[in-house]
């Protein structure tokens, strides 16, 4: 019983990091994808560089930069803040790329049709392109969210007491076979937690598909 309780103690932080980081990423991904698609070349290049760096540098490096690198006497992020913000900006990079793929897969005719109907840029984007893109990318976003849930375990390396951190401290105190049980339980819990996300995504996908036909 005790190993389960140990892991459950970390569950709220695991969920908090995942949900808040996802929200940050979903919002910050929007200006990033607009940057990726703009006609202003320097902005486009900078956005591309930002997305590539966010995705190309390991998460643990980002977390260490935020937690240890940005630490000055005047300004310092707590471990939890660094984990949430770090995962949030990384998610923005990944989600911007997913958004971009979705927008790109909307047939060109849709852009042309809205132009022909005299619907101006932002409205055409919001009311015609974005809803169709959302339908295409919803499964990818769900997959990313599940990945993010698992990646939140890396917050344990900067001493955020989420599930893996709890498992780790228990394992250190109990050098027996039972001592590693919390790792296995935590691992299974990640799998269990990802099931409802996957199910919700499938239902959402079916709904959105119906809506179009």
């Amino acid at each position: 019983m005790e190993p389960i309780l140990v892991v459950l103690r970390g569950l709220p932080l695991t969920l908090l990091i995942t949900v808040v980081a996802f929200a940050i990423g979903a919002v910050l991904g929007i200006p990033l994808v607009l940057g990726l698609r703009t006609v202003v070349a320097p902005v486009r290049w900078l956005s591309r560089l930002a997305v590539d760096l966010l995705r190309g540098v390991p998460m643990i490096v980002w977390l260490f930069v935020l937690k240890f690198g940005l630490s000055t006497p005047a300004f310092r992020l707590s471990s939890l803040e660094a984990a949430i913000f770090g995962l949030g900006i990384i998610s923005a990079g990944y989600l911007a790329e997913i958004y971009r793929g979705g927008i790109q897969s909307v047939p060109r005719g849709q852009f042309e049709a809205s132009q022909a109907l005299g619907i101006a840029g932002p409205i055409s984007f919001l009311r015609i392109i974005a809803p169709q893109a959302a339908r295409i990318v919803s499964p990818s976003i769900a997959t990313y969210l599940i990945g993010l849930l698992k990646n939140s375990s890396i917050a344990s390396t900067i001493v955020v007491s989420e599930m893996v951190f709890q498992a780790q401290s228990y394992a250190r105190q109990n050098p027996t076979i039972a001592g590693i049980l919390p790792y296995a339980i935590a691992g299974l819990l990640y799998i269990v937690l990802s099931v409802p996300v996957a199910m919700f995504s499938r239902i959402l996908d079916e709904r959105l598909r119906k809506a179009v036909i």
Partner: protein, 219 residues
């Protein structure tokens, strides 16, 4: 007192590059072990034998469903408690290879399943037996569309080698942490470390995108 940025980066670079060599080595080992495993798992999952199929599914879903860090800890701290002692490098390679192979198994399966059914029927119509059709007609085409995904996964496993820092494998991240502990220039050290990782992953990503376009075009 403060050294110019580039001077200090010049000092940090040699130990970081020796760490990078270790990281690349870990990734290559995980890929070399993981790819054959991926084919094995994929064959199991697609097998018509229900028992083998279920076993394959369990292996793959656990390998993909658990965070890489948890797998790493389970291998490194777990196995010795059952009397199997492992060097940290070996533990890192086993954990990364398993995680990698499970993702790749699904990518390969997706590739094979994306081959149009007509190809099987064409094989039958030409009088090829089903084994030959599968191995010589379906698999080559399926692998072709799986290549960009496999490359992407290989870039991710290279990034995941940074997790081996947590079990004291002297790879890039560990070197960075030791350097930071010596001079307290954490920001400079970790930013340079990020750039070293990016120097590998960004060109690799561009190659992947380029291959994806090329493979998509022909036929």
């Amino acid at each position: 007192m403060t050294t110019p940025l580039l001077t200090s980066w010049g000092q940090y670079l040699p130990p970081l590059l020796s760490g990078l060599v270790q990281s690349v080595w870990l990734a290559v080992a995980a890929i070399v072990i993981g790819l054959p495993l991926a084919f094995l798992f994929c064959t199991m999952v697609m097998s018509e034998n229900r028992l083998i199929g279920a076993l394959g599914l369990v292996i793959v879903e656990i390998g993909r469903g658990m965070p890489a860090l948890v797998i790493l800890y389970l291998v490194y701290y777990g196995l010795p408690r059952f009397g199997i002692s492992l060097a940290n490098v070996a533990a890192a390679i086993i954990a990364l290879a398993w995680n990698y192979s499970c993702y790749c198994s699904e990518i390969i399966r997706g590739g094979i399943q994306s081959v149009p059914r007509g190809q099987i029927e064409a094989g039958n119509a030409l009088g090829l037996d089903s084994r030959v059709t599968f191995l010589r007609v379906i698999v080559p085409q399926g692998l072709r569309s799986a290549i960009p995904g496999l490359l992407g996964q290989s870039i991710l496993v290279f990034q995941d080698t940074s997790l081996a820092y947590t079990i004291a494998v002297p790879e890039l991240m560990k070197q960075a942490y030791s350097l930071g502990g010596e001079n307290y220039q954490y920001l400079r050290v970790f930013v340079l470390t990020g750039l070293v990782y990016a120097a590998v992953t960004l060109p690799a990503t561009w190659i992947t995108v380029w291959m994806e376009r090329r493979l998509g075009k022909s036929y």
